[in-house]
């Protein structure tokens, strides 16, 4: 992709015309400023974005957020909406970590309140929250129990005392997507998941304690229970091996039928089937089940975080309780209604590394957030800021109610490991007052801040473009990495 292949629509938005390639069905649009644009040109992400514009039934544009980077099939940061029911659904357009997402938890504690206990709290979080490669947890479930999780999502945790009703109310889809079918999920997926509920995993997944560094929208921040200097916690993880296997199974199944539907694609990882087909319906029901597993997973990790706060802080601070602010998915396909060419239409919105960002007034938002817009949780790279945003009218009008999901990688994992020493990175973070508890130093090096884009710049773009609005900036004080 060259700069002559696209045009600038406004200071934050660029377009690759549909005429760029004969197989593109719609234009491709991406949000960036000049620097993020140059970074996007550094890998194959914009070619992958153009590839996603070839999907049958795609409407309006293939979109990418400013944290776009190269993935497989879709770029990370991609958003594609397809017509219902004759458009396609693509498992690769959701990704292997189905309902990977972020949860933000609030406390009534300030940085000063926990300062004497921060080391112990970081260690207890690491001890209580299973993390790292191959680590199972305390919740070992048989197939029948896992099928119950698939049906009930975070509601499974509520039934067992691991959640409060408010936790579910303040979770996207209330922590349970309707229509999950346990029978559409393979025995192999249940095998992979048997001890993985309530575990963090590895890679870029983390639990982090942050302090609220700055507030940009006092009304929205107050509504969410955020205040300057407050300690909050983030969880970033997804559906673990359960979701990975669901995606693996359906990518393989779709390979065998895609030609029957007359679909020709530039990359086999984009494989898809009509949403109305048996394969499309089966994948949707299985994907919803994996999404429910992920909601339950983040809920059980919430329970373990609460346990950690009690273990360390009970009797030492006035109130060690931890409350839900919101929980969002950033790898998902959902049937939604949006306005396209002046008409309300039902579409299947694929968000792969993109966050739903519904604006004020949306009926699906919890009552407490309906007039401010949906909270959007954007973790930065380790050691840099994270952000709380809200969805806007602009996101509904421009991007199928979607915005960015993180900083976005800019450096390969192998280069990060060559250029960054994990122990030096840890010492550097510790010298800045950030406690680091990592399962592996080489894994830590792969996730070094220099491997990522500047998250503050990404946020300026989505804020400036009007597809989300800044509420609060968070900075880390403790990180538990898988």
């Amino acid at each position: 992709m060259k700069s002559s292949d696209f045009k600038r629509i406004n200071p934050y938005l660029y377009e690759i015309p549909a005429a760029h390639r004969p197989d593109m069905r719609v234009p491709a649009r991406f949000y960036a400023d000049a620097e993020l644009l140059q970074q996007a040109l550094g890998d194959k992400s914009l070619d992958q974005l153009a590839n996603s514009a070839t999907l049958p039934g795609i409407v309006a544009y293939a979109l990418a957020m400013p944290d776009i980077h190269q993935g497989y099939g879709f770029p990370i940061g991609g958003v594609v909406a397809t017509r219902v029911p004759d458009g396609v659904i693509s498992p690769g357009g959701v990704g292997y970590d189905i309902n990977c997402g972020v949860r933000l938890l609030g406390t009534r504690l300030s940085r000063a309140d926990i300062a004497p206990y921060l080391d112990e709290l970081a260690t207890q979080l690491q001890r209580n929250c299973p993390h790292g490669v191959g680590r199972g947890g305390e919740f070992v479930l048989n197939r029948k129990q896992l099928e119950d999780v698939v049906r009930k999502g975070a509601g499974w945790a509520l039934e067992r005392g691991y959640a409060t009703p408010i936790d579910l109310e303040l979770t996207e889809e209330n922590g349970r997507i309707e229509g999950a079918d346990p029978a559409k999920i393979s025995a192999r997926a249940y095998e992979r998941a048997r001890d993985q509920l309530g575990t963090l995993g590895s890679g870029n997944h983390f639990i982090e304690l942050d302090v609220v560094d700055d507030i940009f929208d006092e009304t929205a921040a107050t509504r969410m229970g955020l205040f300057p200097g407050q300690i909050v916690a983030q969880i970033h993880c997804g559906s673990r091996g359960f979701g990975h296997q669901v995606c693996t199974d359906y990518v393989a199944r779709f390979q065998r039928v895609v030609h029957q539907y007359g679909i020709v694609l530039p990359d086999r990882e984009l494989v898809c089937a009509p949403l109305s087909s048996p394969e499309g319906q089966d994948y949707l029901a299985a994907m919803k089940g994996a999404a429910n597993f992920a909601f339950a997973n983040r809920q059980l990790l919430t329970h373990l975080i609460r346990r950690s706060f009690d273990d360390v802080l009970a009797g030492k601070v006035d109130d060690p309780s931890v409350y839900q602010i919101y929980d969002i998915a950033h790898n998902m396909a959902k049937i939604e209604e949006h306005e396209v060419d002046g008409k309300r239409v039902r579409v299947c919105v694929h968000r792969k590394g993109a966050t739903r960002a519904f604006g004020p007034g949306s009926a699906v938002l919890p009552d407490v957030y309906r007039d401010i817009g949906q909270p959007v949780l954007v973790p930065g790279s380790m050691g840099t800021a994270s952000w709380v945003l809200v969805g806007t009218e602009g996101s509904m009008a421009q991007s199928f109610g979607s915005t960015c999901h993180g900083a976005g990688r800019v450096m390969s994992r192998s280069r990060a490991k060559r250029e960054v020493q994990g122990d030096e990175l840890r010492r550097g973070l510790e010298s800045r007052g950030i406690r680091v508890r990592a399962g592996s130093l080489s894994g830590l090096a792969e996730e070094a801040p220099q491997a990522y884009k500047d998250v503050d710049r990404v946020i300026e773009v989505v804020h400036g473009a009007g597809i989300a609005r800044k509420v609060a900036r968070l900075v880390p004080v403790a990180v538990v990495k898988g």
Partner: protein, 141 residues
């Protein structure tokens, strides 16, 4: 630090978000055996630390050679995650684009260093080159 083999037949390829291996072999048997070896390096960091006290038999059927490669490596991903096993050695008696019969050998290392979520089809194409068959496989990690 990962001790990658970095010979002409197994090479780590730069990828922004994930891991990719470029593999070469004289024929499908050799190519798939190098794929197993390369994936074992990603999983274990150093295949010399992997015991050789277990073997698993495999019989797979596929639509084409690329799907066969994904299915083959997918089996190894599954065993790594479910059982903590790594199989650096593949003795493949029969490999065609539609059928694979063979045995993989390895064991349980003290630690799996890299979690591989899945083997992808991204730009996956087995090509005939002057040096033999060549393919680049992207792993979601």
């Amino acid at each position: 630090m990962m001790d990658a083999p970095e010979d002409d037949d197994i090479r780590i390829v730069e990828h922004t978000a994930d891991w990719a291996l470029r593999l070469r072999g004289d024929d499908l048997k050799a190519l798939f055996a190098r794929a197993a070896e390369g994936m074992a390096y990603l999983l274990a960091g150093d295949t010399s630390v992997v015991p050789r006290d277990l073997s698993r038999d495999l019989t797979l059927e596929a639509y084409d050679a690329e799907e066969m490669l994904v299915l083959f490596l997918g089996e190894l991903v599954y065993w790594a995650e479910r059982d903590g096993l790594v199989f650096p050695v593949a003795d493949l008696r029969d490999v065609t684009p539609t059928r694979l019969v063979g045995t993989v050998s390895g064991g349980r290392p003290a630690e799996i260093q890299k979690h591989i979520k899945a083997v992808t089809y991204h730009d996956l194409a087995i090509r005939q080159t002057e040096a033999g068959l060549e393919v680049t496989v992207v792993f979601d990690v």
